[in-house]
């Protein structure tokens, strides 16, 4: 009956250039799977990693082209019957997701070869997951957000369960899946209720409806928006929906954890920011107090529980909960500054977490098992470069000056203060100080304790044997060269390629002697350079993010 009455159904025009980055990633994933299936795993892992990285570069180029297209006039365009919107915001996330894929491909390459995991599965799943995150950022319709959420989440469930040899991995995959499916179902019910209350699933139409209709009893709408918020908070690991995070982060293969932590935050916050800044903007008075409470709980829980962890992966899981609280600060501010600050924080955090988990991948050793803090004893003496990189990444997460982490925290707290959430700003800074304690503990363990004493417990026995008098000199020289090169290649698009060749080439000799894949080291170097260079010279990233913060 209703279907028959819906006459005049027009096939929508599909602008393929607008969805090119997503198409490239999905295409790359299919090519990888086909190559893997046709060659019966005779292709070396390096080929798959290169294909994945090349796909990421292609998506990055497509993203930059889109950025040029929408940024100049400042007028966004909608595509595929207004279900997607291509604006600065969505293209910025396209660019970020592509960068994550490139760095993550490099990091995962070393892991896959060390563990002898043949086949293209890791990269194919990662590419699909990233395409889902891009879709979430570009979605202009709740159904598309839901599709993006699932395209992102389902590969992440499998990535968590990818390591068949460790029971923890399967358990992590299952826990992530059950709780993820639970949150998706809640999210869908939220969409249904919002649809019932507003008559549309289109974000722009919902915003228009809410702007013109002032409802006195909008229980249905508030329930729908509440359920949607729950679904999002699950994905970005905010308290009280964070229960899965420590278990999944600890159990998943380490490079998958890094990728998951980065891409889930990117996709989740992209959609969360767009929905609550555009569609539900007029409900601000209703959701701001809720987010205030959620942000406080998230900040405090992440910082306090992080203190008592003995496992570095678990510690970083609580740290990621703490970071989610900081990003929520910008959303809670519900202002233009808050939007830019949250965006900036997501950009910064994605690189920090990728790099941190890359170092953990290296230290975890064959089998991916040594993740206790004890494994880091004397790391900076055995492997000065690796120790230096991890120290930079941890100090940046703690908010040390001259790093992007410091600026990220500064901008979100500033946004909170400008919207008069003084108490929230103070709580955030206090939890930042508490969280700094557990980051500094790892740095302290890495630097101050002699390497020789804990030799039997070391994960990288070959590294310890090679420690000679010449190493400190090399360590002092190399970081200086790195940071100088970092300023030169500071523009985000060029950074991965430039550093991969520059740092990778210089490190190859050392890396080979230590049994660490140069590709993983190159990935770590990129994230460290990003953190330092844009921390010292913040203008490019901040103006980029500020331009991207303009919603349609």
């Amino acid at each position: 009956m209703i279907l028959a009455s819906a006459t005049g159904f027009a096939v929508p025009h599909i602008d393929y250039t607008a969805i090119l980055p997503e198409l490239i990633l999905i295409g790359g994933s299919l090519v990888l799977l086909a190559a893997g299936a046709l060659n019966v795993r005779h292709l070396p892992t390096r080929v798959y990693s290169l294909l994945s990285g090349a796909t990421g570069v292609a998506a990055l180029i497509a993203g930059i082209v889109l950025w040029q297209k929408v940024h100049g006039g400042g007028h966004p365009l909608t595509a595929v019957a207004h279900s997607l919107v291509i604006d600065g915001f969505s293209t910025a996330f396209v660019i970020l997701s592509a960068c994550i894929i490139i760095v993550s491909s490099a990091i995962a390459d070393g892991y896959l070869r060390r563990e002898g995991i043949a086949g293209p599965e890791f990269h194919a799943l990662a590419l699909l997951g990233a395409s889902g995150a891009m879709l979430m950022a570009a979605a202009n319709d709740f159904i598309v957000i839901f599709l993006g959420l699932e395209i992102m989440s389902i590969p992440l469930y499998v990535l968590a369960a990818l390591d068949q040899r460790r029971a923890e991995s399967g358990e992590a995959g299952m826990k992530y899946f059950v709780l993820g499916a639970f949150s998706s179902a809640i999210f869908v019910y939220g969409i249904a209720l919002t649809y019932g209350a507003t008559g549309s699933t289109n974000l722009a139409q919902i915003a228009g409806y809410l702007a013109t209709n002032v409802s006195t009893s909008n229980g249905l709408l508030l329930a729908g928006a509440g359920l949607l918020l729950v679904g999002f908070l699950f994905k970005v690991a905010a308290v009280p929906f964070h229960m899965w995070t420590p278990d999944v982060y600890q159990g998943a293969p380490t490079p998958a954890t890094g990728f998951m932590a980065a891409i889930a935050k990117v996709g989740g916050f992209a959609a969360l920011l767009r929905v609550f800044f555009s569609s539900f903007h007029s409900l601000e008075a209703s959701w701001q107090p809720i987010l205030w409470v959620v942000a406080v709980l998230t900040l405090v829980t992440g910082a306090v529980l992080g203190l008592v962890q003995r496992d570095v992966k678990r510690m970083l899981a609580y740290s990621s909960i703490n970071h989610a609280g900081f990003i929520l600060l910008g959303l809670q501010a519900a202002s233009r500054e808050g939007m830019s600050a949250s965006l900036y924080y997501v950009f910064v955090y994605a690189f920090l977490v990728l790099g941190s988990f890359a170092v953990i991948t290296v230290v975890g050793g064959r089998g991916d098992t040594s993740h206790a803090i004890e494994s880091y004893r004397g790391l900076a003496r055995r492997q000065p470069l690796l120790g230096f990189g991890f120290a930079v990444l941890l100090l940046a997460q703690a908010g040390a000056p001259f790093t992007t982490g410091f600026l990220g925290k500064l901008y979100v707290v500033e946004a909170a203060v400008r919207s008069h959430s003084y108490a929230l700003a103070v709580i955030a800074m206090l939890t930042g100080a508490v969280a700094a304690a557990f980051y500094l503990r790892v740095v302290f363990v890495m630097y101050s304790l002699p390497a020789g004493e804990a030799a039997p417990a070391m994960a990288l026995a070959d590294g310890g044997a090679l420690a000679t008098g010449t190493e400190p000199a090399a360590a002092v020289a190399a970081p200086a060269g790195e940071s100088r090169g970092g300023v030169l290649v500071a523009a985000p698009p060029e950074a991965p390629a430039g550093a991969a060749t520059g740092a990778g080439g210089g490190l190859r000799l050392r890396a080979a002697s230590l049994g660490i894949a140069p590709s993983t080291l190159a990935g770590i170097a990129v994230t460290v350079l990003f953190t330092l260079a844009l921390g010292i010279w913040p203008a490019p990233l901040f103006s980029f993010v500020h331009a991207a913060g303009l919603l349609f």
Binding site: A167, V178, Y195
Partner: protein
Amino acid sequence: MSVPADFYLTLSAVMFTIGAVGLLVRRNVLVMFMCVELMLNAANLAFITFARELNDVGGQIAVFFVLVVAAAEVVVGLGIIVAIFRRRVGATADDVHVLKG
């Protein structure tokens, strides 16, 4: 003649609640999957009810998307369970590959 929309919405809410509570209290993973399906179908029922009330085809289309995603989700979920189960059985399942080629 026709059933009021409130009845459908109440049924949908009840289904959703049963699913949510079931997922939280049951310990069998397969039953937990069924609870997720129940929650998704509760959302589908709500979509269709609202589509009828609003005389809008969008809600009906949404149901198809949700159905497809639910199917994909279960495929992956069952795959993960099978992977865990194979590991649990342990050496016997892992050792059968010696007879290949």
